[in-house]
């Protein structure tokens, strides 16, 4: 029965125009009526058109939350956070979803310096930093030009100092970009999708079970061996779980 409904819905969708804004609006209407499954289908068809937005993932997370699907809900909120890290509503609802999870790991304390560095590195995205780099580099070139053109020694000195500083700034920006890219590559966050999973010391079923992690827990994938992945928990513990039990927080899967 449900399948037939979904099928009917899909055929409906194809009748409608493939406009993501329309689909998004239809999803919102379905959500407001309490038809969360239908809303999810609408929202998913938006992302299947190859476009997305933080609001789309936020609404998807809400729909899954209403359905008590903890893991899917958290996954979508986290995806939204990747696109829009400062959305207060988003963080608020993410907390609601996190309250439904069984695990609460106390995160490792970080040194102030490390925190400040991370804050700086993640002040904006790689794209943003690239823009900054270009701006600073152009400024450096312009200052160099002025330095060459000017006659008075005081101006020359001023422009040369400005040139050196902006050149150093652009080098710093490159370092920041590389650092951010490196951090992003090394931290592959993922959400546990199975009800409960044994967190093991080795990638096989015989090894010792260190602890049990539950649905909705956020983990970081370190590396993989066959059907197993090495993960890092938020409290810093490292162990192995089957690859199939998590879904990575990234857009490349779709």
């Amino acid at each position: 029965m449900k399948n037939i409904l979904l099928l009917a819905l899909f055929s409906c969708l194809t009748c409608f125009g493939q406009d993501p804004e329309d689909l998004f609006r239809e999803g919102n209407i379905a959500y407001n009526k309490g038809a969360y499954d239908r809303a999810i289908v609408y929202y998913d068809s938006v992302s299947s058109l190859g476009v997305h937005s933080p609001e789309l993932y936020f609404n998807l997370g809400n729909a899954y939350y209403k359905k008590n699907a903890i893991a899917s809900s958290i996954l979508n909120y986290e995806k939204a956070l990747l696109l829009d890290a400062d959305n207060a509503q988003l963080i608020n609802n993410l907390v609601y979803a996190q309250n439904m999870t069984l695990d609460r790991f106390t995160s490792l304390p970080e040194s102030e310096l490390k925190k400040a560095t991370a804050d700086l590195v993640f002040l904006t995205s790689v794209r943003g930093w690239s823009m900054v780099l270009i701006a600073v580099f152009w400024l450096a070139a312009f200052l160099f030009f002025l330095f060459k053109r000017s006659n008075s020694s005081i101006r020359k000195r001023l422009f040369f100092t400005g040139f050196v500083i902006s050149l150093l700034l652009s080098i710093l920006t490159v370092v920041i970009i590389l650092q951010q890219k490196n951090t992003l590559r090394n931290t592959n966050p993922a959400i546990v999708f199975v009800q409960s999973e044994s967190f093991r010391a080795e990638p096989n079923m015989r090894s010792e079970v260190l602890l049990t992690i539950h649905e909705g827990a956020k983990v970081f994938i370190v590396e993989g061996v066959e059907d197993w992945i090495k993960i890092k928990l938020q409290n810093g513990s490292i162990g192995w779980i089957p690859r199939s039990s998590v879904q990575p927080i990234s857009f490349t899967e779709e």
Partner: protein, 583 residues
Amino acid sequence: MRQLLICCFLTLVLSPVAFAQVDFKAQISKSQLGINERLRVEFSMNKDGDNFAPPSFDGFRVVAGPSQSVSNMYVNGKRSFSKSYTYLLTPLKKGKNVIGQASIEIDGEIYKTTPVPLEITAAVEIPKNPNDPNYIASESLHLVAALSKSKVYINEPITVVYKLYFDSKVRPSDVNPIDMPEYNDFWSQDIPSRRTIEKEMYKGKLYNYVAWQQTVLYPQRAGKLPIAPLSLDVQLDVPTNRRDFFGNQVYTQVSRTITAGKRTLTVLPFPDEGKPTNFNGAVGDFSFEVKTSKNALNASESLQATVEVKGKGNLKLFSLPEMATPSALERYDPEYSEQVNTTLSGMRGSIKNTYTLVPQFQGKYPIPPIAFSYFDPKAKTYKTLESAELVIDVLEGPKAATPVVNAPNAATVAVPNVTGSFQFIAQQTSFKPIKQLPFFGSTLFFALLAFPVILLLLYFIIRSQTPDATAIARRHKARLVKKFLGKAKKNMSDASAFYVSLEAALHNYLKARLQIQTSDFSKEKMQTLLSDKGVEKDTVGLFIQVLTNCELARYAPSSRSSMEQDYDTAVDAITQMDKQFKS
């Protein structure tokens, strides 16, 4: 005769010596005996004494005795005396024991026997002896350990009933357990027996029997487990052939120790096939339930969640599965309660854990399904029961706490102070393509980076090929000044020489430029000539003024500052004129 005399003499001489050696000793019939056997202890002496004190016989029961016997013997006229006290004992417990010291006073001296060690072993089979006076008793009294099954699984209940069979012609009057069975490797519970006399066939004969002791056993390990036998000491009234005055049979009392045979039980291990991972040793037939007292409540109110297992099986021998709750729910340690009745067929009842939960924040809190697995010995399979998922809805209360965000890319997330209720979906959005090509490292990126560098390079290349006009002018001016005004500058210290050389320089310049000797020209002619050559009026004015100054200086002395001014004016005039000649 003479021999006789010698003999008498020897007797007289030696006999006091012989009589002086008092011999008082204890002898036992066996040094090792079963608990169901009897022991005869004889204290014998070779000289009569008084005040015989037997030992206390700890661990024994005196069945008969003391019986005294005295014998005097004359062998070849030699008298040998012997007196003995004999006891018949039954051991009461197994293990090593000692027959203590007995004492006697002979000729005013106290003599003691040495203690005799002996060992009491488990009950032994006594060979049948039809001549034994206890034979009737032994034939009409049996103790049997009846097992409900001979093969069980670990933790499957099994009942041992010790049945005391006795013939209807004997009457047991007193029964005392001597050796209680020990159930190592079993969880055991005695079921009190009412000990009523019932009838049953045993070995083809109808016997009365009493279920003396009933025990429920739960074997705790696999293998062949022995069950140590029970030993009972039974006082029996056995009929004799004699009749009393009224023609009733006269009974005599016989004491007998009987033992149930040693039994072995085969305990099967759990099958490995299909063993659930959460199996924790529950065996039987159960039902499983998880429930909460409320499904919707306000924060900081409490609710009870119970995990209950009901049914038949080893309820006391396994632990209930743990309940997992969201970490945002405050959970207290469970309260365990059990209502279990143990009967001959095993344990039956329910056990439950009651958790008290206090939600802290508004929201939904799911309690995930709990699975409980047990082994069903009848079906010989594992069974798993799973509870339904429960969701606790917290309607009112403080809003959610601060989020747990410590992902590196979420490090910048300033935890906002919006601790509101669950937010509704967003209505407005603007879509971006999912597959955005990375800007950093793209061709555009490098092009933008390279652009200013290329611009700068181009600028410098062009500038090096087409030299700057001012630089050229500067060089030209320097050349002109060096060529024409060098002499005037040298003569700066001497005013008249300076003006002479300056005037000459100006004329030289015009000569070099126009190939005309102008030193004889009037100022007016010079003015028109220069104007014809395209020199501007101002410049011409400057030039003429310098020449006029030079002439004036011949007659009037001039200051150094005016000299410098005139020199500068001359330089300006020459360079300007040089430019204007060209055009």
